[in-house]
Symmetry: C2
Subunit: 205 residues, 2 copies
Amino acid sequence: MSAATPQPPPRRRRMSRADRERQMLDVAEEVFGERGYQGTSMDEIAERCGVSKPMLYEYFGSKDGLLVACVGRSKAELLDVTQKAMAGAATPEDILWRGMVAYFSFIDAHSKSFAMLLREPAAASQEAVDAVEATRRQQSELISGVLATFAPSAGEQAIAAFTEIIIGASERLAQWRTWHPEVSVEDAARHMTDFCWKGLSPYLA
Amino acid sequence: MSAATPQPPPRRRRMSRADRERQMLDVAEEVFGERGYQGTSMDEIAERCGVSKPMLYEYFGSKDGLLVACVGRSKAELLDVTQKAMAGAATPEDILWRGMVAYFSFIDAHSKSFAMLLREPAAASQEAVDAVEATRRQQSELISGVLATFAPSAGEQAIAAFTEIIIGASERLAQWRTWHPEVSVEDAARHMTDFCWKGLSPYLA
DNA sequence: ACGGTAACCTACTCGGGGTAAGTTACTATG
DNA sequence: CATAGTAACTTACCCCGAGTAGGTTACCGT
């Protein structure tokens, strides 16, 4: 059996740069998600790609660069998903609801890698921090735009502060869901909309 | 001048373990805050302590261990400060207000190191993540206790979710303040209480 | 004075990020 | 088909920082 199928090219296929980059990002996202940033070695990513380490450096420059590229891809996707979700809504309540459902669903789908981004934002260098922060800022702009439209009576600083509150609360709630699997996407979204809408006063004795 | 003051012991004083540990924690908190976890080398901390690296390992076991010890100290202090602040309050509004002021003030006072903790929770190992998470859980218990007392009509899951929302929002707001120095502690606390109390509905057109 | 111990140091190993310089497979053209 | 050019790819290395083995020195109690 062994001599019968010599398998002349043992499989190592050469790939175009674009394809290889995509594959590297897929693998990196997976390994970062599994092991965390620190625990991940470039050698391991290279090996899982079936390629040697200098290729990673050729294409991404550094370990940080690789992480930043992963973040960038997720960032684009997140914006796309949330924007599309909110586009169909009419009332402010509906906008918030749909945005939240889209956000939590996105994190569910990417849980492996995204949980790490939320938990280890700056495991890497300043550049990586900035990349994650840029993602938040992108979402901030979405939210503050909505707030400015529907709640113009709030001051400028208040709108900015509320935006940050919503961002921080969403992230924390998303993380909380990772260790409370019984909380569905809709549950989480409902808690967020309830809180954002009326606050705590309805519950006070 | 040089020969006149031979300075026989060039200054290297021996310290008791307890004193040295305290000094190491002070220095570590400072350096971690300046350079971030990644950027900090054990050699630098050792040098600033006027001591050699193995001493750090003797007392804290590892770089993670040192970070965990720093976190532990801050954690105790944070609990103390917030509990004392809330103790004097009567109404729920006042509890929230005082708790927030204490929290933001604490972060102001420890901005160097605490900003890193919020930004780089898991720069290190799982142990360090857990230590930071334990700090949050400590604050969670404080908050959910208050919620359970004053808002018993909310369900169990809702109370847990609101607690996480408040934690996440506070952290994010604290971080936001670091790059918006014009926002005072009281401003931030007011935005938080406004939002938590009535949510967004008062501002809707 | 002098032993015991706790604080301390020198001098290393090892692993992983990052790189220099060379090699091999695909591709376009004569 | 040959062959030159280039882009994908490799081996073999450097270097820095985490972590350690084993020895040295200052203090303290008797």
